[in-house]
Amino acid sequence: MRNSNQPNNSIAISLVRPKSIFWHNLGKNWYKFSRNPLSIIGLVIVLAIIISAIFAPWITPYPEHAGPFVDFKSAGQPPSLQHLCGTDNIGRDIFSRIIFAFRDALIMAVVVLALAVPLGVLLGLIAGQLQSTWIDIVIMRITDVFLGIPSLILALAIAVVLKPNLMNAMIAISITWWPWYTRLVYGMASSVRNEYFVIAADLTGASKFHILFREILPNCLSPVFTKIALDVGWVILIGAALGFLGLGAQPPTPALGQMVSDGANNITFWWMTIFPSIAIVLAVMGFNLMSDGLRDMLETRME
């Protein structure tokens, strides 16, 4: 029974693109998303981070502390009302710096994914469509090679040979990131391409392009969306790791990982370590939770 009625389902999907599904029954999606209260928490955290990052200069108590600023008189103050998270060894308000650090973190995430995802998805689609041709083989083998080593190590190796700054860190991470999407989409595409509706489209003489982007792509998208939401968190994390080794944004620009390691160098001021750490954890967690919600929302369940 189940097997036999699967294709009609898929047709139903392929005729309406996920996006429009999203907009058409927003209520239903929201229900799916909000069924798990944690996803709402995630959404709240994420929104909070994004908004605070955007409006950082206006909402932070000491915006100037994110720039060239030194005030040794007020260095190393523990958390207090005027300095929510205390001040660092240079007398800068850690809270303000964390908020500003979110900016770079988000920018990094956006840029990395903007570079990695389209590339990865496209390659995945192509390889999946032209299966068992030499193109497929070449693409997937290269992918395998890149997946053959932990991305952090590769990112490190690339980042160190370039000059240490935000841009290069982003490049390094993007280079290690695309293969995951290629593999994901490849898997999806190569299963979808055998669905009846694709074959049907093929038989009705639709162009390769049409099949690729109108029939196959939409059916690979929802997991991609979910992964993107998730990866924002991970990119922030890897970025922090690079920053931790001093390969990220340069002083005085605040960067989460950098701040954590600075804290480690001034262990007397425990707040220099703790609060940036909490910030990182919050960010990653927020995006994880949100992506879970997205998955519940986008994945089309049988029955």
Partner: protein
């Protein structure tokens, strides 16, 4: 008169979804006597399987809800039973045969393990038995469903068998120990006709030999006609008509039953099958009154008010339709 084995009274089952509950089972009455073979017939998706799973309480917990109704087994209400009683029921009294053998067998265990465990934990032998006995019994069970080379089969994995074989294995598992009631959910529908036929015969023999009662769930009147003494016609989660098999086929009363019979292709005379227009209603907010009314050609205003009750039109022949009450 024969005593009643299974008696389902006014059973309601709801399924939780976005925006509320699907009222998939809506006041089902069903009765199985000792040694009786009962058929439950209806279109696919009318809730037959749900009813069947509700009997040994194996509906996926959480998303199903039984708001009201009773399921009496040997006079005891299953819904009120505690866990051990249900366990006992499952392991000794009721045997299940599932629709799709592929799904019903655990892919990562050998046939031997699975059937062996069934035997080990079935009531037949409470005293702990050594491997040998179990093996012997499993082989016997497999032989019974006339599977070739049972010894080898024991070490096979499900995916190494054909659909028919799997189905037989399922039957073997459920009949490996004596049971009083076999509930068979469209056995073999996922297989091709000839195999299905064999399976049916096999099932029939076993039931006859064991004198156990059978609750056969199927969507084909043809099968039901051959295999059962009594038939329940189910539509959209309600029983619309029930009668002894021959009566039902002689004079169906409920329009839906008529429709079904009409849609069974007859080789003798008859011409092309005449199906029923429309499709199963939306469970989320089912039509007022009689659920069949939107598709019913005889529907009158009264049909739309409140659902008709099952009324005995002649002996053992109940119909839920206002036509009979005029």
């Amino acid at each position: 008169m024969e005593n009643i084995l299974l008696n389902i009274k006014d059973l309601h089952i709801w399924y939780r979804v976005y925006g509320g509950y699907l009222k998939i089972i809506n006041s089902v009455y069903l009765m199985v006597r000792e040694g009786e073979r009962v058929g439950l017939v209806g279109e696919s998706g009318c809730g037959k399987t749900t009813v069947m799973k509700s009997i040994p309480q194996i509906l996926p917990p959480g998303d199903f809800l039984i708001p009201k109704g009773e399921i009496y087994y040997k006079g005891k209400d299953i819904l009120k039973m505690n866990f051990s009683e249900i366990q006992r029921l499952r392991s000794r009294e009721i045997a299940m045969i599932f629709q799709d053998p592929t799904a019903a067998l655990n892919p990562v265990f050998t046939i031997g393990t699975q059937i062996g465990d069934v035997i080990r934990y079935s009531a037949a032998l409470e005293e702990n038995v050594h491997q040998e006995k179990i093996k012997m019994l499993s082989i016997k069970a497999l032989k019974e469903v006339s599977l070739p080379d049972p010894e080898r089969m024991l070490v096979n994995y499900p995916f190494q068998l054909s659909g028919g074989m799997k189905q037989r294995v399922c039957i073997a598992m459920s009949t490996s120990s004596p049971r009083n009631l076999i509930i068979a959910d469209e056995p073999g529908t996922s297989l091709d006709v000839t195999i299905q036929d064999q399976i049916m015969r096999l099932l029939n023999e076993i039931v006859k030999k064991r004198k156990t009662s059978l609750l056969l769930i199927t969507h084909s009147l043809g099968v039901a006609k051959e295999m059962t003494d009594r038939i329940y016609i189910m539509y959209a989660g309600t029983i619309v008509e029930t009668a002894l098999t021959k009566d039902l086929f002689q004079n169906p009363v409920h329009p839906y039953t008529k429709g079904l019979l009409a849609s069974v292709p007859r080789l003798s005379g008859g011409g092309i099958a005449r199906g029923i227009p429309g499709r199963i209603p939306d469970y989320l907010n089912p039509p007022q009154g009689c659920r069949f009314q939107p598709r019913c050609e005889y529907a009158t205003s009264s049909c739309t008010e409140n659902p008709p009750q099952l009324i005995e039109v002649e002996k053992d022949h109940f119909v839920a339709c206002y036509l009979t009450q005029r």
